[in-house]
């Protein structure tokens, strides 16, 4: 390790050997994206219907808010290591922690999306003879879509970060570079891995921010 570790990390990133094969950057990035997508999707299948129900009916809101708050106190590394011991090395253990950590954002996004619709607008829809399902899908959801996408954004940011810790208990993904570098005292490689994860997280965050803007119905600038 000579010179600036940042220059060395750029050299590491520029080395074509790091861009091919099973441990290469493209494959690790895809792994990381795959974990993130899988975690967020499974969590969404569980949390979004519940959130929509809570937002539409107003029932169980206190529980949903408390759950979202309590989840913030949960240490992500604790969950990842706990499941690693309980379930063993493999994809199941990290996936379980991704799902648990993604649920609060998605739940909050879904119920606040539905809840954000003006009560007068919802009543007007009801007075026009819309069924509750139609009110949810044609009035409340389109109006609150940016908030729902915001929930996905929060969940994605959380899971991208946690997916890196998953490499600590034997999964792939970009976190590998950091933990390999830590083990072999290779600081430039750790920096390179960090830059890659940060870039991935920011790209995902900005993409979903854009999606949030685009899904706002014309005439409504809710968020």
């Amino acid at each position: 390790m000579t010179g600036s570790p940042f220059l060395d990390s750029l050299r590491w990133l520029g080395d074509s050997a790091h861009w091919t094969g099973p441990g290469g950057i493209p494959l690790r990035t895809l792994e990381h994206l795959g974990y993130t997508a899988l975690g967020v999707l499974v969590a969404a299948l569980l949390a979004v219907p519940i959130g929509l129900y809570v937002g539409h009916s107003g029932r169980g809101k206190g529980v949903a808010v408390a759950a979202a708050g309590a989840a913030r106190a949960l240490p992500t590394l604790g969950l990842v290591t706990l499941f690693a011991l309980l379930v063993g090395i493999g994809l199941t253990a990290p996936l379980l922690s991704f799902v648990i950590l993604a649920i609060p954002s998605l739940l909050a996004g879904a119920y606040s999306a539905v809840e954000s619709a003006e009560p007068a607008t919802v009543d007007a829809a009801r007075a026009q003879g819309m069924t509750e399902w139609q009110i949810l899908t044609r009035v409340e959801l389109p109006l609150g879509m940016p908030l729902l996408v915001g929930g996905f954004r929060g969940a994605t940011v959380q899971v991208v970060a946690t997916a890196m810790l998953a490499a600590y208990v034997g999964s792939g993904g970009l976190g590998r570079y950091i933990f390999q570098g830590l083990g072999s005292q290779n600081y430039p490689q750790m920096i390179a891995g960090s830059l890659l994860v940060i870039a991935l997280a920011l790209v995902l965050d900005l993409t979903l921010l854009l999606a949030q803007r685009l899904t706002a119905p014309p005439g409504v600038r809710a968020s």
């Binding site: 600036s4 570790p5 940042f6 708050g69 309590a70 913030r72 106190a73 949960l74 240490p75 992500t76 590394l77 604790g78 969950l79 990842v80 290591t81 706990l82 690693a84 011991l85 309980l86 940011v157 991208v160 970060a161 890196m164 810790l165 600590y168 208990v169 976190g175 950091i178 933990f179 830590l182 600081y187 750790m190 920096i191 891995g193 960090s194 830059l195 994860v197 940060i198 997280a201 920011l202 995902l204 965050d205 900005l206 921010l209």
Partner: protein, 216 residues
């Protein structure tokens, strides 16, 4: 449970260093957020850029930031100072938008009345604006405190002593009770600090006691 009882001194030691890493960033984030939020509120374009910067900062995963910072500020990867600086940045990312909201929630007409009554700018800020923004500020600090206490544990994988070491050591040696103890201790610590903040809020803002902590 036997592991916990046999290692209470270890847990206590890690809890101590955990608090030492968590409390300064919470305080720094709170104190720095006040002038930054006032500044952000003073110009429309500043407010937008502060909101954008904060949300991007918050999107950066913690471990990579812990790894990058030593190269930028000259601390060691295993230095608690490094963790504290990173956590202050996250704290600011949460707290500055919250404080900007808090100051915006203060009724302009009340501030106008205070000026008319002869309050100088500094006195008006300290005696009128800050107390009225207090409940929303407190809500922000509570979020910062809980998330900071949880984030400190990530430093464990780099070998920085905190309750996170219980996860690292537990997974290495296959002791489930150790990991469970770490999770419980971290959550309890967060709840404890949160409760203390609520009590502190009631002590310094007695008018919030009747209606709960939100409406000024």
């Amino acid at each position: 449970m036997t592991w916990v009882l046999a290692n209470l001194d270890v847990i206590a030691g890690y809890t101590g260093s955990h608090l030492l890493q968590a409390l300064p960033p919470i305080l720094v984030a709170f104190l720095l957020s006040l002038p930054l939020a006032k500044l952000a509120n003073s110009r429309g374009w500043l407010r937008t850029s502060v909101t954008t910067t904060s949300s991007l900062m918050y999107a950066i995963p913690s471990l990579p930031l812990f790894v990058l910072l030593p190269g930028l500020i000259g601390t060691g990867v295993r230095s608690p100072l490094n963790i504290a600086v990173a956590l202050s940045l996250y704290g600011l990312a949460l707290m500055v938008p919250a404080a900007a909201d808090a100051f915006r929630s203060v009724n302009r007409e009340v501030l106008g009345s205070a000026t008319a009554q002869g309050y100088a700018p500094r006195a008006r800020f300290l005696q009128v604006e800050l107390p009225l923004a207090g409940p929303v500020l407190l809500a922000g600090v509570r979020v910062v405190a809980v998330s900071t206490i949880s984030l400190v544990t990530v430093g464990g994988v780099l070998g920085v002593p905190s309750l996170g070491m219980l996860f690292v050591d537990g997974v290495r040696r296959g002791i489930l009770a150790e990991i469970a103890a770490g999770i419980v201790a971290t959550v309890l610590l967060a709840l404890l600090i949160d409760a203390l903040l609520v009590m502190l809020g009631r002590a310094v803002m007695p008018w919030t006691r009747r209606q709960g902590a939100r409406t000024p």
